[in-house]
Symmetry: C2
Subunit: 183 residues, 2 copies
Amino acid sequence: MALGTDYELQDCALARALEVVGERWSLLIVRDAFYGVQRFNDFLTHLGIPRAVLTARLNALVAAGVLRKEPYQYAPLRHGYLLTEAGLELWAPLYLLSRWGGRHATPDGPRHLFAHAACGTDLDRAGACPRCGRFVPPGEVVIRPNPGRGGAPRTDPVSLALAGPHRLLEPLASAAPSTSHSA
Amino acid sequence: MALGTDYELQDCALARALEVVGERWSLLIVRDAFYGVQRFNDFLTHLGIPRAVLTARLNALVAAGVLRKEPYQYAPLRHGYLLTEAGLELWAPLYLLSRWGGRHATPDGPRHLFAHAACGTDLDRAGACPRCGRFVPPGEVVIRPNPGRGGAPRTDPVSLALAGPHRLLEPLASAAPSTSHSA
DNA sequence: TCCGGTGAGTCTGATGAATGAACCTGCTTT
DNA sequence: AAAGCAGGTTCATTCATCAGACTCACCGGA
């Protein structure tokens, strides 16, 4: 973490986790990765983060084993950032923190709702499906906008792709190069 | 958050949560509050945080409704910092993040273990008691050191009090003024 | 009344990160 | 040839953090 090595005195696994994922933008990057964001520019425009910081965070998350780089084209080499196994296991803490934020830090309630893809039931506070009675892994979760929220309309490709229901971890549409149609 | 107001563009409840609890030391302060730390100086020595930063964080957490100030003496007015209802609900995300850190960011495994006070069973990955089959609220959790860990011996009062089993939320022993007995 | 101690801070200068804008590279399309 | 795009790097400025000294109100003892 940016704390240098200050946390290393802490006895706690939480301090270790925060060294990996506790920096300013890190958890939001991981959240976007769950949403299906894979490319540098998509993270950039969706988060509004300075490029240099994004570079640093992505490299740190790769070094920590949360993300990995995967080439998606070779002509000019380009790669996306995907969640590793360890990264995928951040879903539960991330979801719980998000729920907490929706209850206690968001005046008008959450802007997104999460449901179990298989049965359409909204997840409970622990990230489980009340109907199926078990925890739902991120790949089986569908995120959709909360209809009760007006919200400022954002126009970056990621926000547009998330304007409708979307299954977590599936690459967002902006990944399509879209050769000559309504660019 | 220290990001100024940058996160406010984000659609997500997670961003809201991170504005409250995502700053550099905030979650460690909340963790210590679960451990039973209540006093300024105990946070200070246990975390090794600069005083000015601790002041800022405590005030921010109080303003956000995560902690509240409670006087424990009036002669010279002194107060401790206690978790509010909203703060108590951070237990689940905090525990999950800590577990994640123990699995993926701590080389020798976690330094603390958590058990259900009523039956002595260790909590599972979701913070539930496998025997009782339900989520265990923090007030019913006992933390104890992981015997498998040597670890550097720390000598601040909070670390000493946590050297043995301790029920979460119970004030740590350092709260005793101890007038003239084996200071 | 003077003296030292304690709890909970505030103030200050030095250091280090975050920010935003501009620039660079390799390749493709017009 | 010129422009565009993806994914960066470099730079000056601003902001947060750090460590340590200082403050303030009160207590308890001589």
